[in-house]
């Protein structure tokens, strides 16, 4: 339950970061609500199957399709808050320009990967999608023949959003390196175990 450690100010970079963060937050909340939806759907499915002998048709197919929502809509939000696991024992000891150079390089590596993934996942979507086919779909799920392209498109779009987030992060860390900044704007700063613990305490205080 760690909170984020991202600085903001009035610069263009920060404004872009915050605008993007609003979109990312909305999508992440959508993913969360869909998880709650999955819970309700599964409960209905089980009760309906056990009590009325009438399971929801295509339940497994629907869940499979919505997995793309749970798995991908929050990916850029998580990157913005530094939520993807990393090992920061070494990088946490770096300071100033050396640190920002390392962060720029590591963000750039991810940017390269995500660029390739955007192409690859779009190709994967495009093979499924066909305006001339029923439901615009060349392939479908096993049970109730749901088209697969919407889930594939969600993956590509989520990765595009992550790509934009990474461009901002490369920009922010690169600028911090050039200017020798103390705290870059719009990027997650490294938290040591003690700061993480403090955040955990904050969350508990909020719960009461």
């Amino acid at each position: 339950m760690s909170a984020s450690n991202v600085k903001t100010n009035g610069t263009t970079l920060s404004k872009l970061d915050q605008a993007l963060f609003r979109v990312e937050s909305a999508l992440n909340l959508t993913a969360g609500i869909m998880v709650l939806g999955l819970v309700c759907l599964a409960v209905t499915h089980v009760l309906s199957r056990k009590l009325l002998n009438a399971p929801l048709p295509g339940f497994v197919d629907w869940v499979g399709q919505f997995m793309a929502v749970f798995a991908f809509l929050g990916i850029a939000y998580t990157q913005r808050l530094g939520g993807h696991i990393r090992m920061d024992m070494l990088v946490g000891r770096l300071k100033g320009r050396t640190l920002w150079l390392t962060e720029t390089v590591s963000s750039f590596v991810i940017l390269l990967l995500v660029s390739a993934l955007v192409y690859g996942t779009f190709y994967h979507f495009n093979r499924s999608f066909d305006f001339g086919s029923p439901l615009w779909s060349r392939d479908s799920s096993i049970d109730i023949a749901l088209p697969l392209w919407p889930a594939k498109l969600i993956v590509t779009l989520s990765l595009v959003l992550l790509w934009v987030r990474l461009v901002l992060q490369v920009w922010a860390f690169g600028r911090a390196f050039r200017e020798g900044a103390v705290e870059p704007i719009g990027v997650p700063l490294i938290e040591d175990a003690a700061q993480l613990a403090a955040h955990e305490a904050e969350v508990l205080r909020a719960i009461g």
Partner: protein
């Protein structure tokens, strides 16, 4: 059209197995310089696939083939029904925070076992084990009990290091006792049965809790200044404390019963559990802001875990092309030493790695190579128990090793320098104006490290503790 670079000529005669070793080294460098583990693994997997296909098809075609192949994995590996269990388990954990279950559990445990030497410590361990049945998050469990149990123990004159150590160690039980997200991740990465692994974690989790409790009783008996017993509760008061724990009993019952009797799929069981805890949280007065917070955190953690899964599976796809896991297995089995020694060396490596790496990251990065090696060490995936080296069939070995490595990963949460549970306990204690430093928590947790080593020894010596419940499931 000519290639940008003549990679076919450049890579002609290059041994792709050697390249895979270099790339695995580069992966370690990337992880060390702080590249997010999931993306570092996927990046190396992608680069490996590029080189593999470029050697055969040239630069342009090889690059396109690698991008197309890599691009299939995130969608195809994430949208499987079996994985839908993960978000429901995560949601249960976050909602359990708000459902007030911890207070009820601690109170009930205190009334029932408080009379033992070090009674509040024993109560804390059993309460954390109970909370683990609705939460798969070790750090969160430690945080929540640091707030509830430590002040009460300090009030009764418990040694502060002892109190803090009990809470930090008790938190580690969350990963073994179902619902455990880390066991589901293990199941997916190494292609084992999710249901069997979840069942397998139950008894080892209970054994860990009993060993912790035994250690606390022994320590308090020989050094009564560590913590007195808390007596004076009547049977009426004890039974009065039980209704508050009903949701937990219900969740445990639903998950175990559903999986065991095939009444519902693991996902459905997870969803039913989440529903029960949600109702309890709403009953306790949870409002939209808090629910929104739980949903945001659940979605974030879900995205993180899924990114790890498909990221590592890109790497695994490449390793398959490079034949690295098979070569490592071959090397491990050809070592001139007993299989048990090799296994213990692998587990020792996990202890060292875990001192520096996050538990999930450590498991997910190493399993593609260590899992096939351990299976090979036992005699292969299809070996029978009679013909095996470690005394269990190939399938049983897959389940058993999952429980052992998850336990190893848990041990690392209480070992310096980055044992996160200890930092969290100290952070929460200091936030509550208690005079407990991180060093105090590490020292307090040290005896539990020894207890954990004993537990792992017991699980290795008696694999039946792990395999009995999943064995019933199979039969």
């Amino acid at each position: 059209m000519n290639d940008l670079i003549d990679m076919k000529a450049l890579l002609a005669g290059v041994d792709m197995f050697n390249v895979s070793l270099w790339l695995s080294g580069l992966l370690i460098v990337l992880v060390l310089i702080g590249v997010r583990v999931a993306f570092a693994a996927a990046f190396i997997g992608f680069i490996g696939l590029c080189l593999f296909f470029m050697q055969k098809q040239g630069f342009d075609k090889g690059l396109i083939t690698a991008m197309k192949l890599t691009g299939q994995i995130p969608h195809s590996k994430s949208t499987t029904y079996a994985l839908s269990l993960i978000p429901t388990f995560i949601l249960i954990g976050y909602l359990a925070y708000y459902a007030g279950l911890t207070q009820f559990l601690f109170e009930a445990a205190k009334r029932w076992v408080g009379w033992l030497p070090g009674g509040l410590g024993v109560a804390t361990v059993f309460a954390t084990a109970g909370f683990a049945a609705v939460s798969g998050a070790s750090v969160a469990t430690s945080a929540v009990f640091a707030k509830i149990a430590i002040p009460e123990m300090l009030k009764l004159g418990y040694d502060k290091r002892f109190a803090a150590g009990v809470v930090a160690a008790g938190g580690t039980l969350a990963s073994l006792i179902p619902p455990s997200a880390i066991l589901v991740i293990y199941a997916i990465i190494v292609e084992q049965s999710v249901g069997q692994l979840l069942m397998a974690g139950f008894l080892p989790g209970a054994v860990s809790a009993l060993i912790y409790a035994g250690l606390i009783i022994l320590m308090a008996k020989f050094r009564p200044s560590l913590g007195p017993s808390v007596g004076g509760f009547s049977w009426k008061q004890r039974f009065e404390s039980l209704p508050g724990t009903t949701p937990i009993i219900l969740v445990v019952f639903i998950i175990i019963y559903s999986i065991y009797f095939g009444w519902a799929t693991p996902t459905e069981a997870g969803a039913l559990g989440a529903f029960v805890v949600l109702i309890m949280a709403l009953w306790q007065g949870m409002r939209w802001e808090a629910l929104k917070g739980a949903l945001m955190e659940s979605a974030k953690l879900t995205a993180m875990i899924f990114t790890m899964i498909w990221g590592v599976l890109i790497y695994v796809r490449y390793l398959g092309f490079a034949d690295l896991p098979r070569a490592f297995s071959h090397w491990v089995t050809s070592l001139d030493q007993p299989a048990m020694v090799t296994l213990l060396l692998i587990l020792g490596a996990y202890v060292v790695l875990g001192m520096f790496m996050d538990a999930i990251g450590m498991l997910i990065l190493t399993l593609p190579v260590t899992f096939p090696a351990v299976i090979a060490l036992n005699g292969g995936a299809n070996v029978t128990a009679e013909m095996s080296t470690l005394g269990m069939s190939g399938q049983e070995c897959g389940i058993w090793f999952g429980i052992i490595v998850v336990k190893m990963a848990e041990i690392c949460l209480i070992t310096p320098p980055i044992g996160l549970n200890c930092f969290v306990v100290a952070g929460v204690a200091q936030d509550g104006k208690m005079d407990i430093s991180v060093q105090d928590v590490f020292r307090g947790a040290a005896p539990f490290f020894v207890a954990d080593v004993v537990t792992v020894g017991v699980l290795i010596a008696f694999p039946g503790i792990v395999l009995w419940l999943p064995g019933l499931l199979v039969s």
